[in-house]
């Protein structure tokens, strides 16, 4: 078991027989429960879950929590429909042009390489975690994926380091993640806990039967449902349910493609005289981000050329200039954003680059489950709202629950309660 990423002003807590490793901000009331408020908020992200899967019969506990609370059938991930940007949007309430995190994978112009946005410094704005901490409330992150653990850095009062993680997927199984969440609940009891459960997403990515039977996916759904119920039971056992608001949502959904439905933009872009050797691609599965690296004077012409070339490829849904106002992605997203159709995926720079059948990032993966349960009196009972709920609405909703204010410039999302 390795220690936390950043040491320095921190104390370490080894909790539980499983050897779970937590780090806690120095000076924080590490073992004192919940700061100055009895309110508790839990944001549980069932990573990659589709909203219809809650009705599949495989997730009775999630369905019961949804049906007993406030449900948003029209819920949406935000572009680019990837894990890191949407988790950042949840904890900031801001769009990527303000967070600096538009996708999982970007081309870093300073480094001259494509990389994941997994560094604490990648978030260029304040977060809900910091805002609550400054109000004397405590926060905790239990994030199953190493890059999420990375990007949120030391922003939470208490952090669990995801371990053990599975090879390739680089995530901790949900059973382990929920062990950590329950341990944090029992021993640290933060006011806000932010939990990512990665199994549904990871098994979905790898599910070779995704276009048909979704065997692996179904197994993950059933197990994750049980794990969530374990956490809910722990809330009750700890006497926290009546003080709790539990937000359950996904960061994006999932779409599957067969090996014959790959889109490669590397070749077509290289075949264009203007673009050859002057475009870098950050492949995000269902979305390719294109970066012009040639002379600035030719950028406008190059953007139009990139869009034309991309749209000519079978399986491409749309190619937008990154500056399209509705995208609000910021310069980190490059110059052109290309989305694929349902049932397709990008594989750049070559056909072997993206072998996984399950992908997201494109509009076909926008719909997400989103519901609010819990025993606190502020949580509506057995209600359904036709309002559109988005990942950026989590932060203002939680902030409103705790009576915390908005960041400078206001939220891009809104309080759903």
């Amino acid at each position: 078991m390795s220690g936390p990423v950043a040491a320095g002003r921190r104390t370490f807590l080894k909790a539980g027989a499983a050897g779970l490793v937590f780090s806690t901000v120095a000076g924080a009331p590490a073992l004192a429960a919940g700061g100055r408020s009895r309110r508790r908020a839990y944001v549980l992200v069932v990573d990659g879950c589709r909203p219809d899967e809650i009705d599949s019969g495989l997730t009775p506990n999630l369905a019961a929590l949804r049906d007993g609370g406030l449900r948003f059938p029209q819920a949406s991930s935000m572009p680019v429909m990837e894990t890191i940007p949407n988790h950042v949007m949840m904890m900031t309430g801001l769009r990527p042009d303000r967070t600096g995190v538009p996708a999982n994978s970007v081309y870093d112009r300073d480094l001259g390489e494509v990389r994941d946005l997994d560094r604490p410094s990648d978030i260029r704005c304040g977060t809900l975690l910091g805002r609550l901490n400054r109000r004397g409330l405590t926060t905790g992150t239990v994030l199953s994926k190493t890059y999420l653990y990375g990007v949120f850095g030391d922003r939470a009062t208490h952090r669990w380091e995801p371990s053990p993680t599975l090879p390739v997927s680089e995530h901790a199984p949900d059973a382990v993640t929920i062990d950590a969440a329950i341990t944090m609940l029992e021993e640290l009891d933060p006011n806000l806990m932010f939990v990512n459960l990665g199994d549904i997403d990871r098994f979905g990515h790898a599910d070779l039967t995704g276009t048909t039977l979704r065997v692996a996916r179904r197994l993950a759904l059933a197990d994750t449902d049980l794990q969530v119920q374990r956490f809910l039971d722990a809330l009750t056992a700890q006497g926290l349910w009546e003080h709790s608001m539990v937000i359950v949502l996904a960061d994006h959904s999932m779409d599957w493609s067969t090996p014959d439905r790959l889109i490669g933009l590397t070749g077509p872009l290289a075949a264009d005289p203007l673009l050859a050797g002057r475009v870098r691609i950050a492949d995000n599965g269902g979305a390719d981000l294109l970066y012009w690296t040639g002379p600035a004077a030719q950028r406008a012409e190059a953007i139009e050329r990139m869009r034309t070339v991309a749209r000519a490829q079978e399986g491409v849904l749309a190619a937008y200039p990154r500056t399209a106002p509705w995208l609000r992605l910021g310069p980190e997203a490059g110059d052109v954003v290309v989305f694929c159709r349902a049932g397709w995926r990008f594989s750049d720079p070559d056909p072997m680059a993206n072998p996984i059948p399950g992908n997201h990032g494109h509009p076909a993966t926008r719909s997400i489950p989103f519901f609010i349960g819990g025993g606190h009196a502020d949580v509506p009972r057995r209600a359904t709202s036709s309002r559109v709920a988005r990942t950026i609405d989590v932060a203002p909703t939680v902030a409103g629950f705790f009576g915390a204010g908005a960041p400078r410039g206001g939220y891009d999302g809104r309080n759903l309660l």
């Binding site: 349902a342 509009p363 926008r366």
Partner: protein, 585 residues
């Protein structure tokens, strides 16, 4: 439409070993196939605006004999309609009679103590003495009462409800759903049934509001008996014909009651012009039999429709400013209704060497150059089916969109074969090429759009086919239920127009049951099918689910026939699936 008979007769030839060749008359016969204060009110009493009979004399002959109607509710507006008969000679379609001024008023109470809008409207023979007012400046989600006054005579009082505010979140919406009302085939008891309810917000009419045939051409049952013969006593072709036919229908008491009770949201199908109409013609249009140019005929039909129906064509209540019928009506965040026009822009139906009951093997149904919507309307429809709009995207759909096919192969197999041969319909052999099944490329584009953008809660509400259906909308019907559904389709039965048992002359639940089971066995996405009954439906929409209740009537020939609840199906939000529920709303 051409083929409900198709399905019916196709199955009939299989089940009964019967009909294999049909002449035009048979197709027609097979029907589905072929196709403010009392003081203010007193103030409105003024001197007669035209010389002639006294007010009491005019009232006795029915100045407002065609009733009142309302339609196309918006959050701040609703359209109100009537027709006046100011003189004995001012008969519909006559082109006779004076120009007159009709007063109208709209109040929040049935006693007209609180009148909130009033005005005058000039009408005359140029518009067949119809009155059509787009009343604006109203409050959302509010019941209003309206009436007209001419020469001291008051019209019946109608009522209309405005739509909820765009950003409102109503807990439910409830609509009556009807289509296919052939006056010759019986009494409009279905309209009576809806008019007796007090729980609706509006009525959706999905087309075939009236029929073009003359007496004896298309009536009740296999013998085409005319319960009430059409006027004029011939197929409507001229502007006067269309006006007179509209007038005859508007004199029906059940139709009048339902128009007065609720605002209507309407679209046309084919019979408002002629059977199996398409962009440049129709099965029941023959220039060589003196019916003239089709486009001229259609223009006359559309003009009469604009005059006589409570609908905004081209977005206005004005006449002759365009005949675009497809439009959206928003009901808060909960629902938006997009009404389609699937006749004015479509290509001609594919020709098949076999009669319509027989599944059509023509690959032409999948020709991407053929359209049922037209490019502009298809792009507009895709806009309606977009994220960020209202939760339930309700499509008022004149003809069925669910695939009803036989022998469909998985798309992954068909496409490579067609790359070489181009011989196979991409979605199997359709039984009715007058529906979206005859224009599969348009359907594929709509379904692909829904899938590409992960749009949920698309709900097609359909008429035309003289039968009740509840269907899921699979992306690939051949492999379904493996794979996802693009949405749901609920189809209402006909008000009176012949269904399967009528055209076969067989008892209910005999021939039809066999056909229904055959179709469902070949189309696993079809969960409910009723070829036996006439009636109406009630569509109730909440944030949690949309439910359709089917009500059936007894004998169409019996004006007082009983009305009973038959069955209900619902779709839960986000599922694209249907399930039977045990009781109506």
């Amino acid at each position: 439409m051409l083929i409900a008979a198709g399905a019916c007769l196709g199955a009939r030839s299989v089940v009964l070993g019967g009909v294999t060749t049909l002449d035009r008359r048979t197709l027609l016969a097979t029907g589905t196939a072929g196709a403010a204060t009392l003081a203010v009110a007193a103030h409105l009493d003024g001197p007669a605006t035209a010389a002639g009979p006294t007010a009491s004399e005019r009232a006795g002959r029915g100045v407002f004999r065609h009733g009142v109607a309302s339609g196309d509710p918006l959050p701040d507006a609703v359209l109100v309609w009537t027709r006046v008969t100011p003189t004995a000679a001012s008969l519909p379609g006559s082109g006779r009679g004076p120009r007159v001024e009709v007063r109208w008023e709209l109040a929040t109470d049935p006693g007209f103590r609180r009148v909130v809008r009033r005005g005058t409207f000039q009408t005359g023979p140029s518009r067949d003495h119809t009155v059509k007012v787009d009343v604006t400046g109203l409050a959302p989600a509010t019941w209003y009462h309206y009436r007209f006054r001419y020469d001291g005579v008051l019209s019946p009082v109608g009522r209309a409800r405005t739509a909820p505010a765009t950003d409102a979140s109503p807990d439910h919406l409830r609509f009556g759903v009807v289509s296919c009302a052939n006056l010759q085939a019986g009494w409009f008891s279905a309209y009576r049934g809806l008019a007796e309810r007090d729980d609706l917000h509006a009525v959706l009419h999905l087309g075939d509001y009236l029929y073009e045939y003359g007496p004896g051409q298309y009536g009740y049952g296999i013998d085409d008996r005319d319960i009430r013969p059409h006027q004029p006593a011939h197929e409507m072709v001229t502007l006067a014909d269309y006006r007179q036919r509209h007038a005859q229908y508007k004199e029906d008491p059940d139709l009048q009651a339902l128009h007065a009770k609720y605002p209507w949201i309407v679209t046309w199908d084919d019979h408002e012009v002629a059977n199996d109409a398409y962009r440049d013609g129709g099965e029941n249009h023959d220039p060589d039999r003196g019916e003239g140019d089709f486009h001229l005929r259609r223009a006359r039909a559309h003009r009469a429709y604009d005059e006589w129906m409570p609908v905004r064509l081209d977005g206005t209540a004005r006449l002759r400013d365009g005949d675009r019928l497809f439009r959206r009506l928003r009901f808060g965040r909960l629902a938006e209704i997009s009404m389609l026009d699937l006749r004015s822009y479509r290509d001609q139906q594919v020709a098949s060497p076999l009669p319509s009951p027989v599944p059509a093997p023509e690959a032409g149904v999948s020709d991407p150059d053929r359209t049922i919507t037209g490019r502009q309307q298809l792009d507009w429809l895709k806009g309606s089916l977009s994220r960020g709009r209202a939760q339930w995207k309700i499509i008022g759909n004149p003809v069925m969109i669910a695939p009803v096919d036989f022998g469909a192969l998985p798309q992954d197999l068909v496409d490579p074969v067609n790359d070489v041969t181009g011989l196979l319909p991409r979605d199997g052999l359709p039984y009715n090429v007058d529906q979206w099944d005859g224009y599969t490329d348009d359907r594929r584009e709509v379904f692909a759009h829904l899938r590409d953008h992960q749009v949920s809660d698309a709900l097609f509400v359909t008429g035309d086919i003289h039968s009740g259906w509840a269907c899921e909308l699979p992306y690939d019907a051949s492999t379904y239920p493996v794979g996802d559904s693009a949405g749901v389709e609920f189809v209402c039965s006909s008000v009176t127009s012949n269904n399967l048992k009528d055209i076969t002359g067989t008892p209910p639940h005999t021939t039809s049951t066999a056909v229904e089971e055959t179709i469902k066995a070949n189309n696993r996405h079809i969960k409910y099918l009723n070829f036996d009954d006439h009636g109406f439906s009630v569509l109730d929409v909440t944030p949690l689910r949309a439910q359709m209740d089917w009500y059936v009537i007894g004998d169409r020939a019996d004006r007082d026939t009983p009305i009973t609840w038959s069955v209900s199906y619902a779709t839960r939000t986000g599922t694209g699936r249907v399930e039977q529920v045990q009781e109506p709303v």
